[in-house]
């Protein structure tokens, strides 16, 4: 980890591979939930647009949770 190649974005060190994975995972879950939404709204009998966005955001959050587990933190905290 010590010599791992990273890039600095907004003051944070990131790995492009892990960022790519995180974007892919969160987007995949967001769009999956988004496209499933009309079927869910038909069952619930509510407006599809609102449910699509809500479920899409929920999917992105699921993706975020998985990404937290698959990406490594690149900060070392020194307590002074």
């Amino acid at each position: 980890m010590k010599d791992e190649l990273c890039y600095e974005l907004y003051g944070e060190y990131i790995s492009l591979k892990e960022l790519g994975m995180s974007v892919f995972i969160s987007t995949a879950f967001a769009m999956l939930f988004f496209f499933v939404a009309p079927a869910v709204s038909a069952v619930l009998g509510v407006q599809s647009a609102g449910i699509s966005i809500t479920l899409g955001a929920l999917g992105a959050t699921v993706g975020f949770t998985i990404s937290v587990l698959v990406s490594k933190v690149k900060r070392v905290v020194v307590e002074v």
């Binding site: 974005l9 003051g11 969160s26 988004f34 975020f64 070392v76 020194v78 307590e79």
Partner: protein, 457 residues
């Protein structure tokens, strides 16, 4: 207000507060990128716009209180608005005053928001009749131009002239407006969300794509882990009135009142820099000046966000400043589900007293949760976030939400439209153009392009 609305107000304020404490502490979280998409999502999901406003006000209270915590503890800003506080914090930390600025910043946020609410809600009440006059259209060069447009144009000019690169900012206004209207012409309808999100994530996309370029990549390369030095803090009193001196309280109150009104057309970050630097430079004692500047900047952050949202929302009805055209923009865009803008929905469905009550309730709930949490657990929270949450996961979440909302807005073309706008926005930002200029150009684009094409030249 019925019991269900009251319950929802309390619940949404609490959830928003907890979420934005977390987002505020995370380094590098841009306000527009984190506040607007979530507010937009809630609006599109069909939540009552007044409840979304409640969510938004609570998020301002928590976010602007929390984003200076990592500045005080580690010299790392939790959001764009906290960046001007870094030099003050470094001076204070050198003198062992990290816990002093931490507690003063938290208390100043409360003062800033409370003063701004008192000022803007009173001013808005008396100025509301002027809103009708501002929305009236005059014919200029054969084009119908609403009077508020001139206010936007004046704000745009001020913002452009105070940008790091004023000439590029000035010439980018008509060019960017043409890009927006050109893309709208291709789509065949007045798309907003894709373009708005494109500007929001522009700097991030531009930096990311630069990293894929063989030569440009070298500037971003780092090895190993980023070292973050976290200072220890002592016990902090829970009584906010014991934390600020009389002088600091006076400065925080005065400048919060002034900047909350100025933020109607001026940039919140610009005002935070301007007033803070003035106070720091006017003090003969470097340490005292740094602590005062840090404290007042924290108050101004909350005040400008409140004023920049509420005056355009309650009085003008159009996003006349960078705050209203940026983080608060979702309230000014027409939603198909309600057939009007959330702003119009709120003002047509609720009386002024109910709106004020909900806003005050959201603020009270947010501060009563955020204040004790941040005073007691700020260090533990910062440590946990720094040690457990990778930056990649957070950036991935925001990019995913942007892709989803762009698709919702204009299908696959919407995603590529967002990419084009984000690349141009990122390039202009890199050249020193404030993103506020681009947000406001997006609002002014239809009238601006109509006037440009009607010019007899």
């Amino acid at each position: 207000m019925d019991p269900l609305s009251l319950l929802l107000t309390l619940a949404l304020s609490a959830i928003s507060t907890l979420l934005y404490i977390f987002i505020g502490i995370l380094p590098g979280t841009d306000e527009t990128a984190t506040m607007a998409p979530i507010a937009l999502t809630l609006l599109l999901a069909g939540l009552d716009p007044l409840l979304v406003l409640v969510w938004f006000i609570a998020s301002i209270a928590a976010f602007k209180m929390a984003d200076s915590i990592p500045v005080a503890l580690a010299g790392i800003p939790g959001g764009v608005m906290a960046v001007p506080q870094v030099p003050d914090a470094l001076v204070a930390k050198e003198r062992g005053l990290a816990d002093t600025i931490l507690r003063k910043g938290i208390a100043a946020s409360i003062v800033g928001q409370v003063v701004a609410l008192a000022v803007t809600l009173s001013i808005s009440y008396y100025l509301m009749p002027a809103g009708e006059w501002l929305r009236t259209a005059d014919v200029v060069l054969g084009v119908k131009v609403a009077r508020w447009f001139w206010l936007v144009l004046a704000g745009l000019a001020v913002l452009a002239l105070t940008s790091r690169s004023r000439y590029v900012a000035l010439i980018s206004i008509p060019s960017f407006a043409l890009l927006i209207q050109g893309l709208r012409g291709v789509y065949g309808r007045p798309i907003f969300v894709s373009f708005f999100l494109g500007i929001t994530i522009g700097p991030m996309i531009f930096e990311l794509l630069s990293m894929l370029h063989k030569d440009l990549r070298q500037a971003y390369v780092r090895r190993g882990m980023k070292e973050v030095r976290l200072v220890k803090i002592g016990k902090i009193s829970l009584n906010p009135l014991k934390i600020l001196s009389r002088d600091e309280l006076l400065h925080c109150s005065t400048w919060s009142a002034v900047t909350s009104v100025l933020a109607t057309v001026m940039s919140p970050v610009g005002l935070t820099i301007l007033i803070g630097d003035l106070l720091r430079e006017s003090s003969k004692d470097k340490t005292r000046g740094a602590v005062l500047a840090y404290t007042v900047r924290d108050a101004i952050k909350n005040a400008t966000y409140i004023g920049g949202t509420l005056i355009p929302l309650l009085v003008i009805g159009e996003p006349t400043g960078p705050m209203a055209a940026g983080p608060a923009a979702p309230f000014f865009q027409k939603l198909d589900s309600i057939g009007m803008t959330p702003r119009d929905y709120i003002l047509s469905r609720y009386d002024y007293a109910t709106i004020v009550l909900m806003i005050l309730l959201a603020t009270a709930v947010s501060f009563s949760i955020a204040y004790p949490i941040l005073v007691k657990y700020s260090r533990k929270l910062t440590l946990a976030v720094f040690k457990r949450v990778p930056a990649e996961a957070l950036y991935g979440l925001f990019i995913a939400i942007v892709i989803m909302l762009s698709y919702y807005d204009a299908k696959i073309a919407g995603i590529f439209g967002t990419l084009v706008v984000s690349l141009v926005s990122g390039a202009l930002w890199k050249l020193g153009v404030s993103l506020g200029v681009l947000f406001m150009t997006l609002v002014a684009a239809p009238t601006l392009v109509s006037l440009l094409t009607a010019l007899p030249l």
